[in-house]
């Protein structure tokens, strides 16, 4: 199978790779580039564990072909902490016990980040809607919803 070049920015740094045509972004990120924060839960679009942010929009990396991302800016959960300081969402997930096995967490955090980027003070319903494509087998969701609301409050306090 012919190799094709892909080039995009991942969490602010330039990445260029040769991949097999048809490789999903999830496989390219995990197996080629070494960012294992997006998880492969179902490879069917149903679990949301592979969620990443592409040019500001939430996408499922398991259903996105890497070569369609040429020139894009991609954000994953591994790019959120700055200089060892966790992102407010990551902090809130730890503080409210919103992560148990942790498999869904990077996808949940991506979905929550897009929400807070557009809606800094979301209602509970808006949080539920934003996370509706993400499945968690462990927590029963309530701690996750609370984590997102807590992070939103922390953000607005910092901004005040």
């Amino acid at each position: 199978m012919a190799k094709v070049p892909v080039q995009f920015t991942l969490n602010g740094s330039e990445k260029a790779e040769f991949i097999d045509s048809g490789t999903t972004l999830l496989n390219a990120l995990r197996d080629k580039i070494g960012d294992t924060s997006p998880k492969g839960g179902c490879h069917q679009g149903t679990c949301g564990a592979c969620s990443v942010i592409i040019d500001g929009e939430l996408r499922l990396s398991c259903l996105t072909l890497a070569e369609t991302c040429n020139g894009a800016a991609i954000t994953t959960t591994s790019g959120l902490a700055e200089g060892g300081v966790l992102h407010p969402l990551q902090r809130a997930f730890l503080d409210t016990f919103a992560t148990q096995c942790g498999f869904c967490t990077p996808g949940m955090i991506m979905a929550a980040k897009v929400l807070l980027d557009h809606t800094p003070n979301p209602s509970r319903d808006e949080v539920v809607e934003a996370l509706s494509g993400n499945i968690c087998r462990c927590t029963g969701y309530e701690p996750i919803i609370q984590a997102v609301l807590t992070a939103a409050r922390a953000n607005s306090q910092n901004a005040a």
């Binding site: 097999d20 048809g22 398991c62 259903l63 072909l65 979905a111």
Partner: protein, 264 residues
């Protein structure tokens, strides 16, 4: 298994590439990449076109043209497409809506195709390089269709003339038990002068409830007026059975939900 993707700037070149055996068009990929991930070996190559017309929305003078690559999220947030927002938001969760295209929805087998149900009620015209087809004809022939859908066009309904409902077990996001869309026009005395009703999950693809449409003509939208339409709603249906609901259940609840939609 890897798939080879070929990308073309024009629809014409992409259409030529699609003539090769084993190739499929790549819209948002939510169905076709999923099929490949699941091991569907009938797809060996994907073709896409980056023609900007495929991603354009044009709304003027009550007429709307939506490019086939436009996503459900783009429709839901478009200021001129307010009446359709509910139907676009009915598709998947937020990430799916950022990927799922109008073109792909026209090919989605039941229980999917919620937006195509809306387009069927709207009597949309489906555009390809060879011209336009009424959506009903397009849907009937879609299995043998090999050319790229470029657009859907329709007359924008008045906000209160278009109704849409999706029933799912999981909220806010869940696969359809059924979906219903209706375009209703009423005379000054409140009687229905014309009705187009489309159903999802009542066959392998969206279908019209023609007997119910007929029974609604000249009737008022009240309990008595809609009774005959509800009784006729199940005529000609062959609902799907899947893990969400059996065909029997879908047929049982269809008149109830149609009633709610008509009385809303």
């Amino acid at each position: 298994m890897a798939l080879a993707l070929q990308t073309f700037p024009t629809v014409k070149d992409a259409n030529a590439a699609l003539k090769a055996a084993g190739t499929r068009y790549l819209g948002g990929g939510t169905l076709v990449v999923r099929a490949a991930n699941e091991g569907d070996v009938s797809v060996s190559g994907l073709v896409m076109s980056t023609d900007p017309a495929l991603s354009a929305i044009a709304a003027a003078g009550g007429k709307v043209r939506i490019g086939a690559s436009v996503t459900m999220a783009a429709i839901a947030r478009h200021p001129d497409l307010g009446p359709l927002a509910k139907a676009a938001r009915a598709v998947g969760g937020p990430a799916i809506r950022n990927m799922a295209t109008v073109g792909g929805n026209l090919f989605a087998p039941a229980p999917y195709g919620d937006f195509a149900v809306a387009l069927l009620a709207l009597d949309a015209a489906v555009g390809t390089e060879d011209g336009e087809l009424p959506i009903e004809t397009f849907l009937a022939r879609r299995d043998g269709s090999r050319s790229i859908v470029t657009s859907v066009s329709f007359t924008l309904p008045k906000a209160d003339g278009f109704r849409f409902l999706k029933v799912s077990r999981v909220k806010p996001k869940g696969v359809s038990v059924l979906s219903i869309a209706a375009v209703l026009e009423q005379a000054a005395d409140g009687t229905v002068s014309s009705a187009r009703i489309a159903l999802g999950c009542m066959a392998d693809r969206p279908m019209r409830a023609k007997a119910a449409e007929k029974a609604l003509k000249g009737k008022k939208l009240d309990q008595n007026g809609i009774a005959a339409a509800l009784a006729a709603a199940t005529e000609g249906i062959a609902p799907i059975t899947d893990p969400i609901a059996s065909a029997w259940y879908r047929a049982e609840v269809l008149p109830i939900h149609l009633g709610r939609l008509l009385l809303a």
